[in-house]
């Protein structure tokens, strides 16, 4: 039987923006199983990034429950949440968000600084991750010396270097050209298929969504429908 790694129940997120009360997510019930590749789709403001942030423990829900890897995120304090993110989550941003003054290797090594690994071990792990994304020959390059596609691959290496249980990607192809987007999606697919990683990806792009095994549609903060990907 497949184990559920993400389970939300009546998950709601509300906030106040410029005096307006905004309901970003309303009563979302979603289950994602171990080893799934799920795409979250929907128009801007539909709540897909908010849902991703809640799964990543980057934000707290207003109400409802969220259980990720059998951990109720509502029960964690700020410090515990930070440690939990470091151990279990690999997050990929749309705009890469690499530290500009650090080389590719140093960027990938960054999450490992929070672990008990020795410097040599950290370098080995970071090199492994960079080799996996095909950038073993760019380790000393600064982000500005890399193309957009290469930057995103460094960001993917950074996301997987701690060997997380979940890989969460927020529009990972949004800033990439078609070829680079294809490379990034292929990498995510490989991580899911060959390494058994559970991947949740927010995207606008139906082509990107086609790499997923399941597509969840959101609209105005509500989970509308779930369907197998066109590719399945």
């Amino acid at each position: 039987m497949t184990e559920a790694v993400i389970k939300t129940r009546q998950l709601t997120k509300e906030f106040i923006r410029d005096e307006f009360h905004v309901v970003a997510l309303k009563d979302v019930n979603l289950t994602i199983n171990q080893g799934e590749f799920v795409a979250l789709m929907g128009p801007s403001g539909s709540g897909k990034s908010t849902l991703l942030h809640l799964i990543a423990a980057m934000d707290r829900p207003t109400s409802g429950d969220i259980l990720v890897l059998n951990q109720s995120l509502r029960d964690l304090g700020e410090r515990e949440m930070a440690h939990w993110r470091n151990r279990h989550i690999g997050f990929i941003f749309q705009s890469f968000n690499l530290i500009p003054v650090m080389s590719a290797l140093e960027n990938v090594e960054l999450p490992l600084k929070l672990t008990n690994l020795k410097k040599k071990e950290r370098i080995e792990h970071a090199m492994t991750a960079l080799n996996l994304v095909g950038l073993g020959d760019r380790v000393n390059h600064l982000p500005r010396q890399l193309s957009g596609g290469q930057e995103q691959r460094v960001a993917i290496a950074r996301a997987i270097v701690t060997d997380p249980d979940l890989i969460l990607a927020d529009e990972p192809t949004g800033n990439l050209d078609a070829a680079s987007a294809q490379e990034a999606l292929t990498l995510l697919e490989k991580l899911n298929r060959d390494y058994g990683k559970t991947v949740v990806m927010v995207t606008h792009d139906p082509h990107a969504a086609s790499f997923a095994s399941r597509v969840c549609h959101l609209g105005k903060g509500v989970l509308l429908e779930q369907e197998p990907s066109l590719a399945q």
């Binding site: 410090r79 930070a82 650090m102």
Partner: protein, 392 residues
């Protein structure tokens, strides 16, 4: 949190915006150079260690002011106080050497009792033959090594001093060049020659500005000073007796409350640089708001993020502090060349002492800490989602 793990990140981030970091370092360096120099001068004025010979000397002057002389007759009465080895007349002459408009021509000139000078001021060293030549020649004088070098004076040269306080022109012959431990710049000549040169009706004859006293033991300084002052308490010319160091500091008092002035400037310098750094650090932290969100997403706690940012500010401030102290050390070398008559203290060996180095580095560290703490705290506490909304 292993600080060593984050040092490369801290140092690299410190110089992310090189121009701004450089300007911040320069402004902190300039301020801490000034602070270091002022504190060094303060220490030299008020806390420099006296030599063993200085500790054995007292100066007696008129209680009202230096402008009011003491009678010549006091010398014998002072000599009778137990614990005193010698009492010497020391008369500030002043005068003009060559051209008064050239500051290089200004050096201290004293009329003294030559035969007692080497007992009261044993640190004045010169060959025995020159010493005797000076003592035996009523018109002779001795000159400190630095002043002699500055004016190319050597034994046998004539020195003419035109009095500006005393209405007399002193024609002197250099009989020796002395080397002193605390003073290498003064000129000493015979008080007897000065006194005899003055006409009786001018009002300057047989008067003394100060008596230099050599004691047997430094521990008796307070007792002897009190005994002397008590002796003349009911006289028309009351005395004030103090250590040589206190006497020298009294000249400084002519400038006002120098302690307060120096400390006020130090405080103002520190406060100003705090504001400048605070503004810069706030800007630097704000620019990095999005990066804070990224770091926290990777698992960095609020505490680590806070100290990373504070650490960057401290690195910049300490670097500024070190550079400032190096410049302060350089300025001290320049001060060493100033004639002591201009500096009110012995600056011949002035250097930034370890205590001032420690204070300045602590101040630099505090500037980094205080200027960055509030913006860094605020940034570290911002939610990840809010932080990620910031655009560069």
């Amino acid at each position: 949190m292993k600080v060593i793990n984050y040092l490369p990140l801290i140092t690299k981030n410190s110089f992310r915006n090189r121009r701004r970091s450089l300007l911040t370092i320069i402004s902190i360096a300039a301020s801490l150079c000034l602070l270091g120099l002022l504190l060094t001068i303060y220490q030299t004025f008020f806390y420099s260690e006296v030599t063993a010979d200085q500790a054995l000397r007292l100066i007696t002057r008129n209680r009202i002011s230096l402008a009011n002389p003491l009678p010549l007759s006091y010398q014998q009465r002072i000599k009778q106080v137990p614990g005193i080895r010698e009492v010497m007349i020391t008369q500030w002459f002043g005068g003009v050497y060559k051209d008064a408009r050239d500051p290089a021509n200004f050096f201290a000139r004293f009329a003294v009792e030559a035969e007692k000078l080497f007992t009261v001021n044993p640190e004045i060293k010169l060959p025995e033959s020159e010493q005797q030549a000076f003592i035996n020649d009523r018109t002779g004088c001795i000159v400190g090594r630095k002043t002699a070098a500055r004016h190319n004076l050597k034994t046998g040269d004539r020195v003419i001093l035109t009095g500006d306080i005393f209405p007399v022109k002193m024609e002197l012959i250099v009989r020796g060049i002395y080397e002193g431990t605390t003073d290498n710049e003064s000129l000493f000549f015979h008080y007897k020659y000065l006194n005899e040169s003055l006409s009786a009706g001018a009002g300057f004859k047989d008067i003394v500005a100060t008596y230099s006293i050599r004691m047997d033991r430094a521990e008796d300084a307070n007792t002897i000073a009190k005994s002397i002052d008590d002796m003349f308490r009911n006289s028309p010319s009351q005395t004030k007796t103090e250590t040589e160091q206190a006497f020298q500091l009294s000249f400084l008092a002519f400038l006002g409350n120098v302690k307060l002035i120096l400390l006020t400037i130090c405080a103002a310098v520190t406060f100003t640089i705090l504001l400048v750094s605070g503004n810069t650090m706030a800007m630097a932290v704000r620019e990095r708001a999005r990066e804070v969100g990224v770091l926290k997403t990777l698992g960095f706690t609020n505490g680590i993020v806070l100290w990373l940012m504070v650490g960057e500010a401290i690195v910049i401030s300490l670097l500024g502090g070190v550079i400032g102290l190096l410049f302060a050390g350089g300025l001290c070398l320049l001060l060493r060349g100033l004639p002591s008559a201009f500096t009110f203290a012995d600056f011949s060996r002035i250097s930034v002492p370890p205590s001032v180095t420690i204070i300045c580095l602590l101040v630099a560290g505090m500037i980094g800490l205080v200027s960055s703490f509030i913006p860094a705290l605020s940034a570290s506490r911002r939610s990840i989602v809010e932080a990620l909304k910031f655009t560069d």
